[in-house]
């Protein structure tokens, strides 16, 4: 149960931080329609986050709420992979970050539907519908930017260069994940990786982009060792709850 709690928090943190990052775009997108698309994905992820934190709070059984989980834990207690805390950068960076995430998230949720943990399976089922839109959206944009203008190609290649080192952490199993895999709570990441790699290869081909080879993969986020970005996210994110503790909003 402690393991499921840890894992659920890790998933929640992941959706939350990415949802937060995407929400930073609101009002600043390159075109209204895409501003709305970014907010939509952010909203879906925050929705998923809430279900997960609520479940985590129940598993913990100490009377904490979803907001306590989100607003009252510090940097090293957050367990999201490093990718999702990377800055928005330009639209190309945001698209590539989203594409790498979706290429994991979609296939992960698909497999998680079969978890022996029914609550996680149910959350996965609900989020999978949304994620299937996300992966379609981000894949299409990768293709557009890769096979668009010379500038867009250069920018998306720079984004690949910036973000690829963070694409491997999703599939590196923590001790918690290994234990849960043995107990059948979570799916086999190798299979997910195969689907994910195949999807990436297909989209990159259509985008006339190369999948980077032999890149050193960064990790640590799932164990609380983050990049310096997360601290700044949390100062902003948590400010009100920290400044005015224990109030209703």
């Amino acid at each position: 149960k402690q393991l499921v709690l840890e894992f659920t928090l890790q998933l929640a943190d992941t959706s939350f931080i990415l949802g937060h990052r995407l929400s930073e775009w609101c009002g600043h997108g390159p075109v209204l329609e895409q501003d709305m698309a970014l907010s939509n994905i952010a909203l879906d992820l925050i929705g998923e986050t809430r279900s997960l934190y609520q479940y985590a709070a129940e598993l913990e059984g100490k009377g904490r709420t979803e907001d306590d989980m989100a607003y009252l834990r510090d940097t090293v207690e957050y367990k999201n992979p490093l990718l999702v805390e990377q800055p928005n950068g330009d639209f190309g960076d945001t698209i590539m970050r989203q594409f790498v995430f979706d290429s994991f998230h979609f296939f992960f949720l698909k497999a998680l539907q079969n978890s022996t943990d029914h609550r996680l399976a149910a959350i996965a089922e609900k989020s999978l519908k949304e994620s299937s839109y996300h992966i379609k959206w981000s894949s299409e944009w990768v293709i557009r930017l890769g096979d668009g203008t010379a500038e867009s190609r250069q920018r998306i290649e720079k984004a690949i260069d910036n973000l690829w080192p963070f694409s491997g952490e999703f599939f590196m199993m923590t001790a918690t994940e290994k234990a849960l895999l043995e107990q059948g709570f979570i799916p086999d990441y190798n299979q997910i990786k195969q689907s994910s790699d195949a999807h990436i290869a297909k989209v990159f081909e259509e985008a006339t982009l190369e999948v980077p080879q032999n890149v050193w993969m960064q990790s640590g986020g799932k164990e609380g060792r983050h990049t310096e970005h997360l601290g700044f996210i949390l100062t902003e994110l948590q400010y009100l709850q920290r400044a005015y503790p224990r109030l209703e909003w």
Binding site: S23, E24, G27, H28, G29, S39, E236, Y239, L240
Partner: protein, 320 residues
Amino acid sequence: MQEVEVNLEEQFEAKVAKDIRIEPKDWMPDAYRKTLIRQISQHAHSEIVGMLPEGNWITRAPSLKRKAILLAKVQDEAGHGLYLYSAAETLGASRDQMTADLHSGKAKYSSIFNYPTLSWADIGAIGWLVDGAAIMNQVPLCRTSYGPYARAMVRVCKEESFHQRQGFEIMMTLCNGAPEQKKMAQEAFNRWWWPTLMMFGPKDDESPNTAQSMRWRIKRFTNDELRQRFVDMMVPQAEFLGLTVPDKDLKWNEAKNGYDYGEVDWNEFWNVVKGNGPCNKQRIQTRVKAYEEGAWVREAALAHAEKRAQRESAKAEQAA
């Protein structure tokens, strides 16, 4: 020719008088078209610029629920902007031109968005007061004479009243909360009350376009009428919340069955309209920056769509 025009104009006037909707393909006087384009695009710009002051608190919203609600609200405003730009396009305006006019300062947007959001309570105050005033302005527009505009407004108003309830609920939570929260709410109310009253525009005797707009049934009430209604509606709500209206001249007038209220600071009003508000520069710079930084994305999307179309037509030719 002259006669035909006169005839068309008479028909138009007759339709308007009978509350028959004018549609894009119908004949309409140039001045009517221009007035509508100006008003609708201004309204669209207000939605888009209006995303910024509230968007400013999305990353700092105090709970997951509030964060989601606020994000959805600001996203709705983008949607309203889209409906309205589309409505203006039916009159022959182009979205690029409208955007350029916003960025150059030629087109206006609601001055209220030139005030900053300084605390979380501002998000409540905007929803409650600003959206409240917007609805007061907009509900009559659901019956405005130009069809596409009226239909856009029906959708907008439905969502706005939802937003207003959410704003009121934020205020209520703060007012029923800790003393710091109540203070935050009062402080925000103090800052937003007067600018909100300015949202109804100048006094009737200084609003030269009102008469024509009312004749064309674009507008249905005068600025002062709407402002009075708004005051009469909000004062009891403020009392319910336990907030003090920052107007020492406010008092109930039994004779007119409404509130007398103090004089709006029209100097401030005109000054903000002229571009000297606290955030005019910042708001436009933010929009221009988003637009300019998005140029390469729009170009890429276009280039890709063209490549794709070419490939498909090449394939079709081969097949033939």
